[in-house]
Symmetry: C2
Subunit: 149 residues, 2 copies
DNA sequence: ACTTGTTAGTTACATTTTCAACTAATATGC
DNA sequence: GCATATTAGTTGAAAATGTAACTAACAAGT
């Protein structure tokens, strides 16, 4: 019989997934219906829009994305003419990615949608709770992959 | 240029996914390595372990799971001899699912693993923050599918 | 009884993700 | 300079997921 102090319905990985799925599903029409983007594509777009030109590798690190996922998202965004690759002369293995004007326009539009969405969500939480929530999520998203000695 | 008060790296769906992925990846070896279970299978197992015999439909509602996902998870758990179906005489469309002794053993083991994991995670948050976090996640997981009139 | 509708669950097919192997460019040890 | 290792990124096959159409059992109206 389960302890009074630990109920699986409050198990953090479970709750996190429930909440993440729910919120992602609620937001996905913004990039999906209008631009035919996948979630990974939207993430790549938003990293480039937010932080400017960078390599796929860097995006993978920042977004905790596997390189094959990133590679395919970049290819898809390139096919949609939302970004271009610029080869770097010194090291031709990696390419710098940057948004095209169309990509920046989509980014600007999605940025507004995201802000509106975020504000809407926060009306359902108190200001203080929202602050705590974000702080916790940042901590949990970053935690322990430090690895070896 | 982005507002000072809204940075996409704090966009809730994004943060939730990052945190959920991270925590799920950290816990998944518990059911994956030892029992070859998928996340959905673990969820179904845990609902049956926690709440006892119920139909697939009920699990879908509780876990916010799509019926095809549940159907496949049930089939997989049945193949692993972790659960059995019991047809209901009055309405033979639905079957009650219940864990076998092997299923209950796996559940007991994973329950302990989950509790240990949860406690470990919570050492990284204050008691009060953990409480707020769970409250917010429950709210965000439940929100708005009420739909039409 | 008998068409029509609904519900629980399955199956088939397309899309997406993951895993592992691969290419190409650069760096390192000798 | 040449073998070896590492790094950035791509590709193909296998696994998993989502979508839609399907079956089987029941319900309801006529």
């Amino acid at each position: 019989m389960p302890d009074a102090d630990f109920n699986l319905s409050e198990f953090l990985p479970y709750l996190l997934n429930q909440a993440a799925d729910r919120q992602s599903m609620a937001f996905s029409p913004a990039y999906r219906a209008r631009y035919g983007m996948l979630r990974t594509e939207w993430r790549v777009l938003f990293h480039l829009g937010q932080y400017g030109e960078m390599t796929a590798k860097r995006i993978c690190e920042m977004a905790q994305l596997h390189k094959t996922k990133a590679s395919r998202a970049v290819a898809a965004l390139e096919a949609k003419r939302f970004l271009r690759r610029r080869e770097v002369a010194e090291d031709r293995r990696h390419a710098l990615l940057r948004l095209t004007p169309a990509g920046r326009a989509a980014y600007a539009h999605l940025y507004d949608a995201a802000r509106a969405f975020d504000m809407e969500v926060q009306t359902r939480l108190t200001v203080e709770d929202a602050r705590v929530l974000k702080r916790c999520l940042i901590k949990l998203a970053a935690s322990e992959d430090a690895g070896g000695p």
